[in-house]
Amino acid sequence: MTKEELIEKLKGIVKPYVKNEEGFNNLNEHTDFLNDLKINSANLVDVILDIENEFDIIIDNDSMEKMLNVKAAMEIINAKLAEK
């Protein structure tokens, strides 16, 4: 999967939780889920569940804590896919 394809998939996953449309339209590798997309922090667990379902991976607690932005999410997803 290319970087662009992965970002597109993530965009689809986070869309329902986004409270800042501008941040969403400009979503890129450096986008922060809380600060740029204004996702309610409680919803981060839902984003992670949706990522798990989409990619059929399990994200452990340590990885969850790090998944605060697009870049970290991409790294973790790639790592978990590689382990499969």
């Binding site: 329902p16 939780y17 409680a42 919803n43 981060l44 667990v45 839902d46 569940l49």
Partner: protein
Amino acid sequence: MDNRVVITGLGVVAPNGTGIPDFYNAIKKGISGIRFYQELKDFNFSCCIGGIPKVSEELKQQYLTPLQLKNFNSPGILYGCMAGIDAWKDAGLSINENSNTDWDSGTVFGTGSSSVEKLRESFYKIDAGQVKQLGSTAVVQTMVSGVSAYLSGILGLGNLVTSNSSACCTGTEAILMGFERIQSGKAKRMLVGGCSDHGPYIWGGFDAMKVMSYKHNDDPEKASRPMSATAGGFVPGSGAGALLLESLDSAVERGATIYGEVSGGAINAGGQRGSGSMTAPNNEAVQRCIKDAIHNANIQPDDIDLINGHLTATIKDAAEVNSWATALNRKGKDFPNIHSLKAMTGHCLGAAGAIESIAAILCLHHNFIFPAVNCEDVHPDIAAIISPEKIPQTVLENNKLQVIAKASFGFGDVNACIIFKKYTE
């Protein structure tokens, strides 16, 4: 001096009508919302009928956002939000997610039990070792205060935000709690009401108690028969009712439509002594509650034009009518008109008092008495106390109602009675 409290907004999601215009039309025509549900039969219920409001997917989306509806499985909260938002808008108040917190407005929005479907779903996940799959909303949907929490966020409420719970008294109690808050000057506006889930997981316990109607699975609309000689238990219902209560000063200042006044009320309990038990009312407590409400509202028993009873269509109906007659000291032809909305909606449990109060206020505002359907054969014990003509079989229009008494009684031997009065300066 105490503030006067008026009703400036109404919202309802009932088995026989979603939204005030639908509901108003239904109660006037005596339209039933009771239907047969195959699911209940498949689960071996004795009572396979019930009252469930009709709410389409499109309608849901007008009240809750796609995010709020994600993993959402709480019909009671949905109905509560719909009724609450309707009542708020009906009062001419606006909804803006970017507005400032409204420190003068609060809510008391009750429920008998919260989101059993969501709880069940969660338990299955936990038992399967999948606690993580609960996501972020299992708590807010299953906490008893879920409905008031959702409403507070949608409307920006900054005064008291809470959910009361007192079984079938819940809705009526919520109105009185909000009333007292405004009366004492602690809030200007209170959104009050009650909501209830539906389905086998909430109704099953009642079915097991054999207190629900089981002889009318083939003709559901005839099943709920308050005050009838052939009453055979209550029919379960669900939904929500919401009232926007407001200080008279605030209502007048805003130029709001005033549907009526809450002139007083009372809440008490029978302590499960005397004739009272966990599931049966202490008649002395019921009578005290009615008398206290009359006293608190500063009216006379003779002022009451209409009683909107609790009257669930069980063997306790006659005892309730006797309590009213004793408390008011009015019998035979001197007794006020009396009816029970449950004949059309079933018993909406935690929502009952709120939905029934809305029916009462619509009667008061539009000068009519909805028909006591399914009571063509008045129970002889009731006919011995009051004249059967006081239980109107057809709608009575152009009835200049001034005062309506509404009561609800609940498991735990708890009671609440409200006096609604036509508003006059």
